[in-house]
Amino acid sequence: MDLRRRAYCDRILRVDLSSGEISTTPLPVESMPLILGGKGLGAWEIYHDQSQGVEPLSPENQLIFHNGPLTGTTAPTAGRFGCTTLSPATRTYSDAYCGGYWGQMLKYAGYDALVVKGAADQPVMLVIDDERVDLRPADHLWGLNITQTSEQIRQEFGSEWQSLVIGPPGENQRNLAGIFNDSRALARGGVGAVMGSKNLKAILTRGNGHVTVFDPDGYRRALQLAFRAVRMSSETTLLNREGTVNILEIIDVMGALPTRNFQRGQFEAADKISGNSFREHEWVKDYACFGCPIACGKYTRPLSDGVVIEGPEYETTFAMGPNCAIGDRETIIRLNWWCDEYGLDTISTGGVVGLVMEMFERGMLDAGDLDGIEPRFGDAAAALALVEKMAKVEGCGEWLAQGVAAIADQHPQAQPFAMHVKGLEMPAYHPNAAKGTALAYAVSERGACHLRGAPLGELFSGSADPLAIDGKAQLFRDHQADKAIWDSACLCYFPGYGMKLKELWQLVTAATGFDYPTVRDFELIGERISTLARAFNVREGFKREADTLPPRNLAQPMVGGPADGHVVELAPMLDEYYRLMGWDEEGIPTPERMQELQLLNEDGSRE
Amino acid sequence: MDSKAYRLREFIDPHDNRSLVLDASAGLSLGPLPGLEQFSTAVEPVLPLVDGLVASPGQAGRLAGRTRSDAALLVRGDWTNALRVPDFVLPPETTSHIPLLNPADALDLGASALVIYFLLGFEEQIEAGCLRETVQLALQGAQVNMPLIVDVQPIGPRVVLHQKAIELGVSYALEGGADGVAIPWSSRGSFETVLAMAAGTPVWIKPTTLQEASAELGEVLDMGGTGLWLDQRLFASRDPVKRLEEYRAQIHQPEPAG
């Protein structure tokens, strides 16, 4: 089977920064129909090639960048890519995805994935120029922020290159550090810290190759249907109009907009920071990632001192806004700017600021701990001061940029309201008001995540009663499998509001020629890959105990809004989820299930 | 002209297509109201000044001795606890909305129209019930030529955008077949949308406060709305008769001489 005529490059680029060795290996041909690429390939590689118990910031930890079979074609959003690693923040399997313009470059350069292991003893940059790959000194870039680094690279190399860079948080191996391609990022789980621990400052890529699909006519037809489906969707129309912030109002109305570090689910100034509000007052131009017909990205008009961002996203708006009781668009934009400029995950950053505000108000921290800053809820200046410190990794910013879990470890009295799961800060949906999402936060393979199957439709598509727990395990399971396939084919979720798994199946079948007789056969890939990620975590020692939520969700009834009085009844949902997935009561995938999913052979050996 | 149009003209003056209506039916769910403790006595002086008086079925039955120059009778056809505030003697824990009359009953009471609430912002079943009632009473009303007026109440906790909720209420009422709607005043722009949807169906506004009523009424009449729909707060005010005379003069201005 020639994978190069089936939309792949059939090449994994392997770089060992300790030895300086650069090589390529083919894809695991026999397994590709089972794992597809993207998330599947990343999970496969890390599960099979990394031993258990590796220290996340050590040279042994692999940082795997991956794209999918459709990457680089004209499928909607076919520039998306991801990375997989062991997270220093959660110590779990962790993957992150990014739009922007780097993913297709790796594919055109001729690689389906890039595996970086080891660590350089001096700052380096990896330069991938089709088959010419080498490491070059990056001392002159070390210490520069994202914009400065990207500018410098553009000047040295020219604008036809795309790069992934880290800023000071990544260089200082902070848990909140992300990896950035201009305004888009692999943000969560501390992937920037892993890159920084390897002394890898930037990855520059330029590619002139092409992608050949298996059945060009079938692919063309499938593209037509996919694009039409994407256009005939009120959700994609709304995304184009008001970006991801479009859902803020409905989430607030449902009582699920986390406010003041998740104390409440509704924010009094929600209308000031709604999608409509940003559209009316702040946004001036649309932005699209490579290959995207939706263009949910938005550029803001310059502020008085020239600050411009591409954003904010809904998550950022929550994290910097209601979570900190800040209802002022300009402040949110500035807080976003610090994160983008220096390379921080905005969700986690906002989570830290919210926690610190609550701790300060309760007297658990004082100004002395915070370099003289006195952060109360709603204090924009204090929030800006804190985030600036985190961005520059200065003073208290050094420990703040390690995240909510690390702060709570040092201050155990804050544990009851340290809003994270497994060490990843909680995203913009209040679990007490969205039970299916609560289950997803507790179980997701990389910690509290809304993008690994959380059935957000219970909140903004009316698909189920968000306050009920019945049926939520099944709902989560279905969405988790769905998301895992999208991440393996490597497309963004947003076309999925118009096209569905059927259209994706048609695209993948035509591109790869793999045999999935029905959509259901294709659907199996999703559960297989989620289970593989789970198996990795189990091997690292995670089980049921870690699938939990903070006391604020499990034991503290919500106050106000439609979810008034609700807590998250996690145990019954968890039991049901494990049962549906074929895992035992500890949440460990049984050998039978692993075999059924073709992750283990009959003799128990790995596939 | 059918008798439904005839009935509508009993409280919408056919000369200027305008109307002043006073809703005195809230006692049905709120009990004795300030200024309305003695219903007949309170209502007697205002009857000649308004075009239509909305009364509960019980009070309607007791309003005897009305003359031809007195207001037409409109009868309230449903009951709800949604108008009760948290410090009411029986604060509502769940919302209830109950139909009481059908158009045939309104005929028996000698009414010129049947008035029902459209409650927005409460539980899904409440909203569904209001819509179903509207459709059924409009259809039945068409059979016996009894007009149906819908009193739009965007007062529930789920209302997020007040103006748009009013527009939604009007839309639902018209889609249900209402022969007229009474809505809270919001803004010129929103009222324009409402009038466009109404396409000639009468629209009354319920003023925000009695103090603002004149100004709001002015805008409404200017844009082609039908008139004013007052409620029990009129009876609690200092000089109800004087107020009504002013509103009446504003609504039914005499023809300019010459």
């Binding site: 680089g72 074609t73 004209t74 520039g79 002139n208 190759g209 092409h210 699909v213 060009p216 039409r228 489906a229 005939m232 969707s233 009120s234 959700e235 129309t237 409905i250 109305v253 932005y287 699209a288 990632c289 290959g291 017909p293 263009a295 550029y299 591409e310 059935p455 219970e458 009316g462 698909s463 049926g471 099944q474 769905d482 798994l501 059927k502 048609q506 959509v519 294709f522 659907e523 439609p562 | 912002g121 909203e127 569904a128 179903r132 409009a138 259809l139 789920r158 209302v159 955008l161 103006q163 527009e167 939604l168 839309s171 639902y172 009422a173 018209l174 889609e175 249900g176 077949g177 396409a199």
Partner: protein
């Protein structure tokens, strides 16, 4: 089928003797937020009637209010929405977010007798599958009761199965719709209104297992006129009997025109192209709306995939996105037919293509002088990645690759999602 039922059925489906009906759903205001198509119900209704619509779906109240529109033998058939649900008010479908609701609610609202008294030729009722068991049960009850009532008064009953709710996944939505279609027919539906499944094969299967006329609904509106027409044409190809389209028509800038197009496709066998009467210009050129470019590069990759071996990439694209000096300053750069390359070529190897008028390379005259590449103001002439042996026997290491306007249907303009690059008429070969 009794005589009354047949007569009403024919009024709807046999207006043109072909068993097909082009119907417009104007009941949106009954269940959804106030959007312009709701406010402008009357003008929209007049427009679609002018367009030749066969049937219009209205709420009971509007059926009373607009009764005069349905009079006369030429008038459209009236379809009454006999139940009510609040799906358009849930989540972000709730366009205005004025009064959001959380739980799906579905109820019967009028009787079949009342619908007949309104002058209906048919009623439509929902069947929700995939939300939960109670909603499904309510749907079954509503449908069953209506079918009985309808057949007693000789009124065709159109059931509208929808796959909606947490139990619907990407993998099972088509199966659920097909299940709904069959269940509706087993209950006794005389026709179906149902979403298109996305492709002809799965829809044909659905139509086959239904065995009654199937009207396709349009769903959310696309900005491309073509999409709804293509979807409709595919539905017919799969054996469907027409449409009951709402927003795609009522929110269109020209509802009358759109209905004329749908009627042309349904009743006169037009193709979608014929219906759209796409301008056939002799000569075309590419133009830009620079502010609309989002930088997505779909045009660039589409260009590459349309040429050479059909593989996908950005190298060898005949147009490019100039990134600008800062983020957000990107512009699409393409061949503007400025003629500079024709004029500068030392060997006259470039000319206007005789049919498309695009720049054409006469490779046998080429000397790879690079003059054309250097002079192109938009820098869209690129070096080929292979050499070539020309007529004289000489070998060129490379030759210039130029935009050929894809022979007259430029793929870049076709794929551009924002009309940042589009086609315009070219007056003459300058």
């Amino acid at each position: 089928m009794n005589a009354g039922l047949q007569a009403r059925f024919d009024r709807l489906f046999n207006r043109h003797g072909d068993g097909r009906a082009v119907c417009v759903a104007a009941d949106h205001g009954y269940m959804s937020d106030v959007t312009p198509n709701v406010v402008n119900l009357r003008p929209v209704t007049e427009a679609v009637i002018q367009g030749g619509v066969d049937g219009i779906l209205l709420s009971p109240g509007q059926a009373m209010r607009l009764a005069s529109y349905f009079q006369g033998r030429d008038g459209p058939a009236l379809i009454v929405r006999a139940d009510w649900m609040n799906m358009p008010r849930l989540g972000t479908s709730n366009v205005a977010n004025a009064v959001p609701q959380r739980l799906l609610t579905h109820q019967k609202v009028v009787t079949a007798q009342q619908a007949v008294e309104l002058g209906a030729s048919a009623i439509t009722i929902y069947l929700f599958l995939g939300y939960n068991d109670q909603i499904e049960a309510i749907g079954i009850e509503v449908c069953a009761r209506f079918v009985r009532e309808c057949h007693q008064v000789g009124l065709p009953c159109i059931i509208e199965p929808l796959a909606y709710g947490g139990q619907v996944t990407g993998a099972n939505s088509v199966e659920i719709l097909t299940l709904g279609a069959r269940m509706a027919v087993e209950i006794g539906a005389d026709a179906l209104k149902i979403p298109y499944t996305g492709d002809v094969d799965t829809f044909r299967n659905l139509v086959d297992v239904a065995g009654v006329p199937v009207l396709v609904l349009g769903g959310a509106r696309s900005d491309y006129e073509r999409d709804a027409l293509e979807l409709f044409a595919e539905g017919l190809e799969a054996g469907g009997s027409g449409c009951l389209m709402g927003r795609n028509v009522t929110k269109s800038p020209d509802p009358q025109g759109m209905v004329e197009q749908l009627c042309g496709i349904a009743h006169q066998g037009w193709t979608v192209d014929r219906a759209l009467q796409t301008e056939q210009w002799d000569l075309i050129k590419l133009k830009a709306h620079p502010a609309k470019c989002t930088g997505c590069m779909l045009c660039v990759v589409a260009c590459v995939a349309t040429h050479d071996d059909g593989s996908f990439g950005t190298s060898l694209s005949r147009l490019r996105i100039d990134p600008g000096r800062k983020q957000g300053q990107h512009r699409v750069m393409f061949c503007t037919l400025c003629k500079k390359c024709l004029d500068v070529c030392p060997t006259d190897a470039l000319r206007w293509h005789p049919q498309s008028g695009a720049v054409e390379l006469l490779v046998d005259k080429c000397t790879a002088s690079d003059e054309c590449v250097k002079i192109c103001p938009t820098q869209v002439i690129v070096h080929s990645d292979t050499g070539i042996q020309i007529e004289s026997g000489e070998s060129l290491d490379w030759y210039p690759v130029v935009c050929d306007l894809c022979g007259g249907e430029p793929e870049c303009a076709i794929i551009c999602p924002t009309e940042a690059i589009f086609i315009d008429q070219r007056k003459e070969l300058a």
